[in-house]
């Protein structure tokens, strides 16, 4: 080497940092999740950094706005006096499709011609049925104008332990909404969040690491049951969770169930039905809850138009999150159900 070791070393460090900054710019158009605020009260255990934009082209492609509550809703729209509250996990959050393609937006358009938000999206990654039950009462307290609560699930099988834990209700605190949480954050936490916001390369690398470790593969929320239980036992545990929700809310509750699908070698598509699906439906009927199974809609769309509800052109078809077809089918089904009532 002609130059001194020190100069070479400094140049390498400089090049590494500058290159990182350059590649980070690409990250703004590829994957840019924003800060994540943990909390011990209210419906979900965490919310996004309020009034921000999430970019996600890892799976599908979506640019999603986060409102002042920390949930994925458009900005600046006044809430309607009567809300359809859609609660669920990443399927409801829908970071994989553009804002105007997700079913909460489509349903909103169908239900109101005013520039108001009638369908509210209350979701968080991996917010599964047991956690939804635990936070249900807090959700209703945060949005008391709710007329219809839609609970989005893609699996009906959970462990008895999870269902039992779901009965412990989370408290509601008006001090723990997204904007208030962010305002109270210590300076160091705010800096950490800003680094995440402005250096998306850190999030991309984190995502790569989690993929390497095999995380984030299953988005259905399928949990490992520690032991097989009888349908009666399972039904009893489920019944308790549904009664809990019924106590908290007298309006209409719709459990929207969209099973995962399987593209078979012979060219057909079938549904992956979990073991306790029928028990789930039966318990819903017993508690006056509408159980909307999207399975037949999915199969019909495949037979007629070869449309698959899950998957994207930048990953695989038939796996992962809901795509524009899936969202459209769900929006239509929910509209029919709500209109019927």
């Amino acid at each position: 080497m002609k130059k001194s070791f020190f100069i070479q070393l400094m140049q390498w460090i400089g090049a590494l940092l500058l290159a990182m900054a350059i590649v980070s710019v690409v990250g703004f158009f590829y994957y840019r999740p924003v800060g994540w605020l943990e909390r011990d009260k209210n419906a979900t255990s965490a919310v996004w950094e309020p009034n921000t934009v999430v970019v996600n082209f890892l799976e599908g492609g979506g640019i999603t706005r986060v409102d002042s509550h920390g949930y994925t809703n458009p900005w600046g729209k006044e809430l309607d006096d009567e809300l359809v509250l859609c609660i669920g996990a990443s399927y409801v959050q829908s970071k994989e499709v553009m804002e105007n393609k997700k079913y909460t937006s489509l349903l909103n358009e169908m239900l109101t011609s005013e520039d108001k938000l009638k369908v509210y999206n209350l979701s968080r990654d991996a917010y599964l049925y047991p956690e939804i039950v635990a936070g249900f009462s807090a959700a209703i307290q945060e949005f008391p104008q709710t007329k219809v609560a839609v609970i989005d699930i893609s699996n009906t099988d959970y462990s008895l332990e999870e269902l039992k834990k779901a009965l412990i209700q989370r408290e509601y605190s008006p001090e723990q909404t997204g904007d208030k949480l962010y305002a109270e954050l210590p300076a160091i936490e705010k800096i950490k969040i800003k680094v995440k916001d402005y250096f998306p390369i850190t999030s991309i690398l984190k995502h790569q690491m989690s993929q390497m470790q095999g995380e984030g593969v299953d988005v259905t929320g399928a949990t490992k049951r520690t032991q097989e239980v009888s349908e009666a036992q399972y039904g009893e545990a489920l019944d308790a969770t549904m009664k809990q929700m019924r106590e908290a809310f007298s309006g209409e509750i719709i459990i929207l169930y969209h099973p995962s699908v399987l593209l078979n070698e012979d060219g057909s598509m079938s549904l992956n039905q979990p073991k306790y699906r029928d028990v789930f439906e039966e318990m819903c009927q017993q508690n006056g809850i509408v159980f909307a199974d999207m399975g037949d809609d999915f199969l019909q769309a495949y037979e007629e138009r070869k449309e698959v509800p899950y998957g994207f052109q930048n990953v695989t078809i038939g796996e992962g999150h809901l795509n524009k077809y899936g969202h459209k089918m769900i929006a239509k089904r929910l509209y029919d159900l709500i209109e019927k009532e």
């Binding site: 080497m1 002609k2 130059k3 140049q11 390498w12 400089g14 090049a15 590494l16 500058l18 290159a19 990182m20 350059i22 590649v23 690409v26 990250g27 590829y30 390369i201 991309i204 690398l205 790569q208 993929q211 390497m212 593209l263 078979n264 070698e265 012979d266 060219g267 598509m269 070869k306 698959v308 052109q313 930048n314 990953v315 695989t316 078809i317 038939g318």
Partner: protein, 470 residues
């Protein structure tokens, strides 16, 4: 131990440092390092490699001393048969037993659970090359066992080639290789581009290929056609990426393993394609199979037959199944057809060269040849011959199905076309290795950008090399 691992990084650093200090016994050091690399994967198979090396050494030494041509030929025959029996047992035993049982319609109760030793197809061909080169007098018999062992089992190439011929490898073992910054910088760049091709392009595109070829009845004609193109990109980036890594590692230590790919999709016919694709294997078959069979010296019909036989054997080398033999036979037939066409056009070639639109004709030939190669590759990738039929039928009848136009195939396909065309034009139709000046800040910056791009966009779901299975 695989190239893309922390263990390998540590191994290379230690080895390069050791090479700086060990000068006299450098070859022994490299042999120990090579065997350690192999041992890391499976010690039992190391014994096989060592035994095969011992056999090759013994025979080539005897051949070197032998003056009698007949005895020399006998020694060669014994050597070749021994190596082929070993390869045949591990790689083809079950295939032959299956085929024989199928012909006689008897139940196969002779199948064995055989583990395919890592790199056996490659190091067996290295050994054969040494025996044949000594026999044909291309090189003198090597008396130094360490050099022979290194020629057969040099670690960068042992897993999946390139198959460097003995005459090219032994020359490089005549001297001690100095470890210097230029070699390391050049090798690291070749290695880096290899990782990029493999992890960023090939593995990502493999997502579409695996999905579509796994259930071809599901997808529409357009999706299947795109998946076929995707496979052409995947296999090229996977294998040339691996070759680049092997070549890069060897270059860091001062060795030149040659070029294994030379812009193959810019070939204008299948014959040229095989001169640009897996060059080390193609030239191996040319030198040790096609030419000894008579090449083009024994009349036209024999030439065509030799082309078909050579390609069928190449197909069989790739995998123990009739599907690969069929794949090879198709290439053999297309090469023979091209030879017929080429002979027919010979008198008119000069006249045609003067006609206008030469560039358009070249582009058309490249595109048509790419489509032909892509179609033939379906035989290579499909999970069965029945699937080949399904895929072809669905593509050519415009079958309806799920539309799956994988974004990465389109993006990387376009980027590859641009990048490879640039290289084709810049280097008179040949490939160029990246050669940044790492003394300068700009060189370092580009290098670091590629590193970050790999870290951010590498597909981390799978890392098996397609050609390692052969």
């Amino acid at each position: 131990m695989v190239f893309l691992s922390i263990e390998f990084l540590v191994y290379m650093i230690v080895l390069l440092c050791a090479m700086c200090f060990v000068k006299k016994q450098q070859h022994l050091l490299l042999l120990v390092a090579s065997y350690f690399f192999y041992l890391w994967n499976d010690w039992r198979m190391l014994l096989l490699l060592a035994a095969e090396t011992g056999a090759v050494y013994f025979i080539e030494c005897r051949m070197g001393k032998e003056q009698d041509k007949k005895k020399k030929k006998l020694l060669l025959t014994v050597g070749v048969i021994t190596l082929l029996i070993v390869l045949g047992f591990f790689k083809y035993y079950n295939f032959f037993v299956d085929s024989i049982c199928a012909v006689f319609r008897v139940q196969n109760s002779f199948a064995l659970n055989i583990i395919l030793p890592l790199g056996i197809s490659y190091y067996t061909f290295q050994g054969l090359s040494l025996l044949l080169d000594v026999y044909y007098g291309k090189i003198e018999a090597e008396k130094d066992f360490v050099k022979v062992a290194l020629c057969i089992g040099f670690f960068p190439q042992i897993t999946a080639g390139p198959i460097v011929k003995a005459k090219d490898m032994l020359v490089q073992l005549k001297e001690v290789k100095p470890v210097n910054w230029d070699n390391i910088a050049q090798g690291a760049q070749i290695f880096l581009m290899g990782i990029f091709k493999k992890k960023v392009i090939a593995d990502r595109i493999g997502v579409q290929v695996d999905a579509v070829f796994g259930a071809p009845q599901v997808y529409s004609a357009g999706s299947l056609a795109l998946a076929a193109v995707a496979y052409s990109i995947q296999i090229y980036c996977d294998f040339s990426g691996y070759s680049d890594m092997a070549i890069g590692v060897a270059r860091m230590m001062g060795f030149d393993l040659g070029r294994n790919f030379n812009l193959p999709y810019f070939a204008k016919n299948t014959s040229e394609f095989w001169r640009r694709w897996h060059i080390s294997l193609s030239t191996w078959f040319r030198d040790y199979v096609y030419i000894p069979l008579g090449g083009s010296r024994k009349g036209k019909v024999r030439t065509y037959l030799n082309l078909i036989i050579t390609m069928m054997l190449s197909g069989l080398w790739h995998g123990a199944s009739w599907q690969f033999v069929l794949w090879g036979a198709i290439y053999g037939i297309t090469n023979a057809l091209y030879k017929i066409y080429s002979d027919f056009c010979k008198p008119y070639r000069e006249k045609w060269a003067k006609l206008p639109g030469k560039k358009v004709r070249i582009i058309l030939a490249i595109v048509l040849n790419f489509l032909l190669v892509t179609t033939i590759q379906i035989f290579f990738r499909a999970e069965s011959i029945a699937d080949v039929w399904i895929i072809m039928k669905r593509i050519f009848t415009g079958a309806e199905g799920v539309a799956y136009y994988y974004v990465y195939t389109i993006i990387y396909g376009v980027l590859l076309v641009i990048f490879e065309t640039w290289k084709y034009i810049k280097n008179d139709g040949n490939d160029i290795y990246m050669n940044l000046n790492l003394e300068k800040f700009s060189g370092k910056l580009v290098f670091c950008i590629i590193v970050w791009l790999i870290l951010c966009f590498a597909y981390v779901g799978s890392n098996a090399f397609i050609y390692a299975q052969f």
